[in-house]
């Protein structure tokens, strides 16, 4: 049976909690196919120090090494027993077939990497947009893959379980320029959002608390500029932030959370500083003008009052 070892760096454990919500397969189903050698939240007989020793002696083989949380070598800020997470990664990096960054901290550094008193914090292979993570830019595991990033703050459990399942079945996983599985991160939260019609016809939300209206123009929604299938593979298999009424904050991206004013859209002369991916500013202005002139009457009233 293939094996998986899970370690945590500077983390909130949100990716572990998110993974527990997995369906198809459920958490305990995936770990009937893969042997979970160690996970700090669930192991009760094993301890990490012994496992690392056995891995060094080649008594235990690791197929998947999963890292949750950002990396630091500064033991004043992070320790696992007597090790730093960086030391553990040094020992294990050439001994795993695949290394998977679970969540945004391990992928890009995220919130812990913005703490100025510890400038040593990074993601596994990236630090935000730069390929200046803990591992060198050209680092590859035994399987030939670089660190596979499953970003998101937190990651969606299905993104993780489907990636693992595909690799387990020997399927090729295509990665994008940030080493995220392309077939997941080729979608935008915009795709499948229940507010899409409001976006098309430029009916903009002015405030929170309404089913109606698009959150892009005023409330800072990053749905059209973020890579994530949040409205294709629903959260907790039931909804998504934008469906509920919360703007997308772009938490799967390399630059999260560097932006400020998450609930505000930056504009110049009424035009958003950033327009949807693939659309030029000119195209955006033109289509906005047309949509506003032509109007969709259905979108002018509350949903309960539509024909």
């Amino acid at each position: 049976m293939k094996t998986l070892l899970w370690i945590q760096g500077l983390s909130c454990n949100g990716n572990t909690q998110s993974l527990l919500n997995a369906e198809n397969p459920f958490f305990y189903e995936i770990f009937q196919k893969i042997k979970l050698i160690y996970h700090p939240s669930f192991s009760y007989r094993e301890n990490l120090q012994t496992i690392i020793k056995k891995v060094k002696e080649e008594k235990i083989k690791i197929n998947f090494l999963v890292v949750e949380g950002a990396v630091t070598s500064d033991k004043r800020f992070h320790k696992i027993g007597d090790y730093s997470v960086a030391q553990i990664l040094e020992i294990l990096k050439d001994r795993a077939d695949y290394i998977i960054a679970a969540g945004n901290c391990a992928s890009f550094g995220n919130i812990p990497a913005t703490f100025s008193h510890n400038p040593d914090v990074t993601g596994l292979q990236f630090r935000f947009v730069q390929k200046e993570g803990f591992f060198p830019p050209d680092f590859k595991t035994r399987s030939g893959y670089p660190v596979i990033n499953i970003p998101g703050c937190p990651m969606h459990p299905a993104w993780f379980t489907q990636t693992i399942t595909a690799l387990l079945e020997g399927k090729k996983v295509i990665l994008d320029q940030f080493n995220r599985p392309k077939e997941l991160f080729m979608y935008l939260p915009h795709d499948g959002c229940t507010r899409n019609e409001y976006f098309e016809w430029k009916v903009e939300s002015e405030e929170f608390g309404h089913k109606e209206g698009c959150l892009f123009y005023n409330l800072g929604c990053r749905g059209p500029m973020t890579h994530a299938p949040c409205n294709k593979i629903l959260w907790n298999r039931i909804s998504s932030k934008t469906r509920a009424g919360m703007p997308c904050i772009g938490c799967t991206e390399f630059n999260f959370p560097l932006r400020e004013n998450f609930f505000e859209t930056k504009k110049n002369m009424g035009i958003p500083e950033e327009v949807p991916l693939g659309v030029s500013k000119r195209a955006y202005i033109t289509i906005t003008g047309v949509a506003k002139t032509l109007k969709n009457k259905r979108l002018m009233v509350k949903l309960e009052e539509t024909d």
Binding site: Q8, S11, C12, N13, G14, T16, Q17, S18, L20, N21, A22, F26, F27, Y28, F31, Q32, L36, P40, S41, F42, Y44, N47, Q49, R76, F77, H78, K79, I80, G81, I111, P112, T114, F115, S116, H117, C153, P154, E207, F208, G209, H210, K211, C230, W235, N236, I238, S239, S240, K241, T242, R243, A244, G245, M246, I249, P257, E260, N261, F262, F263
Partner: protein
Amino acid sequence: MPKVRKTVLNRVEGEIQLKLVWEKGKVKDAFIIAPNFRGFEFILEEKPALDALVINPRICGICGHAHLIATTKAIENLYENAGLKIDVPKNAKLIRDITLGAEIIQNHLRWFYMFVMPDFLKLEKSKKLKDFEPIKGYKWQKAVDFSSRIVKVIAIFGGQWPHTSYSVPGGVVCDPTTFDLTEAKSIVDSVVGFAQQEIFGMDIEDYLSVSSEEEYLKKSKNSDLKKFIFMCKKHQLDHAGKSYHRFLTVCDMEYAFSKGITKKKRRNFYVEKVREIDSYSYLTENGFSFDKNRYSWAKAVRYNGLPYETSPLSRRINSREKLFINLLKHYRDSYMVRMWARIDEIARMLYAMKMWIESIKPSEPFYIPPPADIKEISGKGVGLCEAARGSLIHQLTVEKGIIKKYNIITPSTWNLGPRCEKYLSPAEKAITGIDSQLKAEMILRSFDVCSVCTTH
């Protein structure tokens, strides 16, 4: 000569090390070491105040929602202190309670089945508990199923769990339909079914009227709570793990609990009496210090100079619940009583969630915009919230909408923080005098250890 042994604790949220000083087979002194630090309070400085709604839930992957609510309330309090009171609509208050309730139930289910029961697998060494075996066991799997099901309620109103920022000053972002409410109610009903069948062995409303241990043991069928009580008694955990017998709760929740502090008598809680002491913390008034006597990133928190336990047990005591007043009389604040209160809260929260969902009126507002732009606001705000593990306090100072100072006191800081010159922390105190390493760890876990919150 006392012997010192340091161990790394598994099955907690994050990393905690326990340093025990042994003498004559007993723990003479205990140090709870929280070695990891991300620096949230520093990260928040100079950020726009509303961005705290996005940053703060990410303090904790298991109770991030409580951090969101505390942040929202702190900003609402900031407005109020600036003379601009925000009238949060009734619907929004209800939804915040519903989602917080769901997060608490999720937490208690995962904590009990995944973090606590494996200790008994070690202690009992019999096949009888194989249903509780991690990953393989039927009960462990059911706990995953139902803890994941209850957070779907948060996803209905907030879009996802973990880590949504759907609660904002002035209300909540959602605008649910009647059918969103019926679905949420159906989810609660299904978790009620699980709780009745597996955890309590009796109807939840009947359970909530139970007033003594004997009555519960007599009325309930086979259940995990019953099994737990018997095992505690068998291993003398019914009297072990006592702390200071002082309890603190900072917030009310209708149908669920009341705030207060209880030493001998119950009194009102005043936030001004809360003080942090950094004499054993790496984090000091003047920056970081790694002097030899310092051993944790957490600070000690004291109320009127004294250490208090904050927890579901505190909530029960400050609400003057008969069952727990009786349990305290017999056992004081022991391992068993502290644990029972956490399990008990699953029933209370489920009941309250049903009532709250019933009270929502979809045709009324869920959000009312604050009376002024945050960029015009300067001053201070305090947000109080009862999280899964106990009392959570957020305090911020803002100048023209920009955060100048942010301070977070988590339940785990109260319970698991370091000592001060005069007193051990409640968990350190509860461990001293114990005669086995495993039991010492179990008593620490009875506080539901969350290291990521302890230090943040």
